[in-house]
Point group: C2
Chain length 260, copies 2
């Protein structure tokens, strides 16, 4: 049965998608695991990031159709092979934005994704859920379908506030909906070594607040990561020796260790 991990935070632009894509690819490549990457953001940036090797045909259904369907439907109907060995993906679904509103009307609106993964989970070793930058219905669905949540943040005051807000949402979900999503940890992204005083100030604040939850691996700022997205390839294929590839490989290993 797959380990399901949400990559979530309320703050925009801190590297949720970059982390989701490269962690999913890292698990498929270095752990030789069978992985599914689910794109819960209507921007569809997981597909953009892997565009170079994606097939042109979609699945039999879209993600929003499965979530809103009256009959129980499995996410397996949505998945396509990504062109990266052992990695499947849910294609870009522009209707996810509208689905956000329509999900509110459903009974047990937070459990739709969990139910659509009942059988699908047996097909994979890991399922990675890339979340949109808010705590709306799609992010709630991700948390309720997950065993654990990884929270990316960069070392800026607004982003740390966003990570804190998501932790609050996780507590509410666990208490009110009797769920038990585990905090895998907080991963520092876009770390720019030039900003040493700001980095230190924020790092002290973060360590005070979250201590052991802060992952050892830090993802440094590395333009190869954005170039890989322009090329539509995972960092390991695009620039295997880059700092971005090294850091995401280290993250893959630390995530596996922390889950055991």
């Amino acid at each position: 049965k797959a380990k399901v991990i949400s990559i979530a935070t309320v703050k925009g632009g801190v590297g949720k998608t970059t982390t989701s894509v490269n962690l999913a690819c890292g698990l498929a490549r270095f752990e030789e695991a069978k992985v599914l990457l689910v794109d819960l953001d209507s921007q569809g940036h997981c597909s953009t990031s892997l565009r170079d090797s994606l097939p042109t045909i979609g699945g039999q259904a879209s993600l929003s159709q499965v979530l809103l369907s009256e009959e129980p439907q499995e996410l397996l109907d949505v998945c396509v092979t990504s062109g990266v060995r052992r990695l499947d993906i849910t294609p870009n679904d522009p209707d996810l934005g509208e689905a956000e509103g329509r999900i509110s009307q459903k009974i047990g609106k937070e459990f739709l994704l969990r139910d659509a993964l009942k059988f699908t989970r047996t097909h994979y070793d890991y399922i990675i859920l890339d979340c949109p930058p808010n705590k709306g219905n799609l992010t709630l669905n991700a948390l309720l379908a997950s065993d654990s949540v990884l929270i990316p943040t960069d070392l800026s005051p607004l982003s740390v506030q966003g990570a804190d807000e998501l932790l609050g949402t996780v507590m509410t979900v666990n208490e009110r909906l009797n769920h038990n999503v585990d905090i895998l940890g907080v991963v520092l992204t876009r770390v720019d070594a030039r900003n040493s005083t700001m980095n230190q100030t924020m790092l002290d604040q973060i360590k005070d607040a979250w201590g052991e939850l802060v992952l050892d691996t830090q993802i440094g700022i590395n333009t190869q990561l954005a170039k890989a997205q322009l090329a539509g390839k995972p960092i390991f294929d695009f620039a295997e020796k880059s700092r971005g590839a090294q850091h995401y490989r280290a993250l893959t290993e630390e995530v596996v260790r922390r889950l055991d």
Copy 2:
């Protein structure tokens, strides 16, 4: 009657709030204009960014109460002085997230903010609307209340895709709702001179797509901007001689020029 400007894009973390706050402060300080900054994002980062001089008391009502109220209510009931001369602000409203869903049920759901500004507009020279990273109801309300929209993007492929998506939303709003929000332009943010090849590739793509709409002013990456947010101050008060302050002053001047 105020000129109302939305600062919007679907992509997260490209500098919508940093631009909203420092443009609003720039207009109040250098143009000696009376300015209202409206925070339509439930993260409340406009207040965080100006925390140092904000009063502790809120307005008589919250922004979400005004938008959802049965009786017509003016935004003026929500505004407070910011401590920055000639700048008022709507305080942080954590209920905006929930309001996003409840707004869907209202008749004319896109026009709630426009109506709440009918009288308030006569009190200011400029009203700046900071939008959340999506094209939901709050962003739609901003577009329908605005004369023009300024779209921030950094020079990365995912962000440019997000700016393009917002332009599509503006076209739909103008056609279907018979509105006429003008594209003030696209402003390049977080520009890191070290990434020269990537910058050039993206800049060529952007100029091809949007030509004259791309503002001359570029906002360079400058850690003083994030430090100012940590201190809760506008960049002009925190580090007047920094590149961030210079670039946002230049942006203020170019925005005024383009609006004339």
